[in-house]
């Protein structure tokens, strides 16, 4: 299964970015391979329409879970239509910390 975590940097030790559409990086974690694959978000500084376009990146990469701080309305409707589960992480820690808390079932699911 592929999990996407929004990140301020390309490494799993970098802090989680709490904004979804304007996150500088998306770290894709394949639970079968165990690594974190960083993808630069080319829409991070775009003027508008970033949410749905960022969501399209997740869809194209086959993510089933998204871990981030918050997701805006348009992006959320895309993510829900694609059947991607969203979990909220707002503890200010690293991508690894967010992933571990997700595994332990400590993160709340966004409706």
């Amino acid at each position: 299964m592929i999990i996407c975590i929004t990140s301020k940097g390309p490494k799993s030790t970098d802090p989680v970015e709490e904004r979804f559409g304007r996150s500088p990086y998306f770290l894709f974690h394949d639970t079968e391979k165990g690594d974190f694959d960083p993808v630069t978000n080319k829409f991070a500084d775009a003027a508008g329409g970033v949410g749905p376009r960022a969501a399209q990146v997740l869809i194209d990469r086959g993510a089933k879970v998204l871990i981030t701080g918050n997701v805006g309305g348009n992006a959320l409707s895309v993510i829900q239509a694609a059947g991607i589960e969203v979990f909220r992480y707002r503890d200010g820690g690293s991508v690894e910390d967010a992933f571990q808390k997700y595994q332990k079932g400590l993160l709340g699911k966004m409706a």
Partner: protein
């Protein structure tokens, strides 16, 4: 002749100047006043009157779900994030669409045609003799301000005298309003903010080749920062409106100054004479 009243900064008195200018000129000849501040049109507050409405339509893609094979070309082309393609269906966000038609062009299946959707309206009224008011109104959540401005200007096109109340800022809506105008009145206030945005708006007028002049509003007699800028840029200062409580009170009540203060009528007529002279001469 088409005159645009702009400012860059919001709240400097664009609408006050446009409304009063149109009111005094309407006593002399027919004038069309166009509210191009389509996100927050407010000229009608000065001229309450019965309105006629016409919708403004914009292009939007219509997807043929049988032909579409969800290849995603349309979503990759869309610069506004209005289309998302999933494996089994497409999601379309109409309020994010700019109606450019790029998706229709790139679709390899010919599954997209362009349809229409209402994004705003134009309101027409004839509030007093000689004055026609055309107000562009953009619907809430919509982004296509230039579309509505273009439509409002189209209804005024060809009229011998048109005065436009421009939107604040210096982005697409101002460019749409200002392009092709004969003269631009830049209303500013003698503050650092006023100066900063005046310099940006004057820059837009310069790029578009529209001659401009400045009206300093809310002056307390210390306008040196504006004068210094106008001298260095070679932009004339047409008039200075004093900072007076009575002016603010009348404007807040939605009253036209030139109806209430005889002296104001003379001053606005003088402003118009100056603007007409410069607009016709291209100064």
């Amino acid at each position: 002749m088409r005159v645009v009243v702009a400012s860059g900064k919001g709240g400097t008195g664009k609408t006050l100047v446009a409304a009063n200018l149109a009111a005094v000129v309407a006593c002399l000849c027919d004038v069309v006043l166009v509210d191009c501040d389509v996100e927050e049109p407010n000229l009608h507050l000065f001229f309450p009157s019965e309105k006629k409405l016409l919708p403004v339509l914009a292009d939007v893609p219509v997807f043929d779900t049988v032909r579409c094979d969800h290849c995603g070309e349309c979503a990759r082309t869309c610069q506004y994030g209005a289309i998302v393609v999933l494996s089994q269906k497409n999601l379309f966000f109409p309020e994010m669409c700019h109606g450019c038609g790029g998706c229709e062009i790139v679709c390899p299946q010919g599954a997209i045609t362009m349809g229409k959707r209402e994004v705003g309206r134009i309101e027409f009224s004839r509030p007093r003799a000689g004055l026609t008011l055309v107000s562009g109104v953009l619907n809430e959540r919509e982004v296509a301000a230039p579309r509505v401005i273009r439509e409002a200007l189209r209804y005024a096109a060809g009229h011998p005298l048109v005065i436009c109340d421009a939107p604040p800022g210096t982005a697409c809506p101002l460019v749409e309003t200002l392009e092709g105008a004969d003269f631009c009145i830049l209303v500013t206030e003698p503050t650092p903010f006023g100066l900063h945005d005046l310099s940006l708006a004057a820059g837009v007028a310069g790029v578009l080749g529209v001659p401009a002049g400045v009206v300093i509003n809310r002056s307390i007699g210390e306008d040196e920062i504006i004068w210094r800028f106008c001298r260095s840029e070679n932009i004339p200062v047409l008039w200075t409106i004093p900072f007076e409580k009575r002016i603010a009170e009348l404007a807040n009540e939605g009253k036209v100054l030139t109806d209430e203060i005889p002296e104001m009528k003379e001053l606005f007529l003088r402003l118009f004479a100056e603007v007409r002279h410069r607009g016709e001469a291209g100064l």
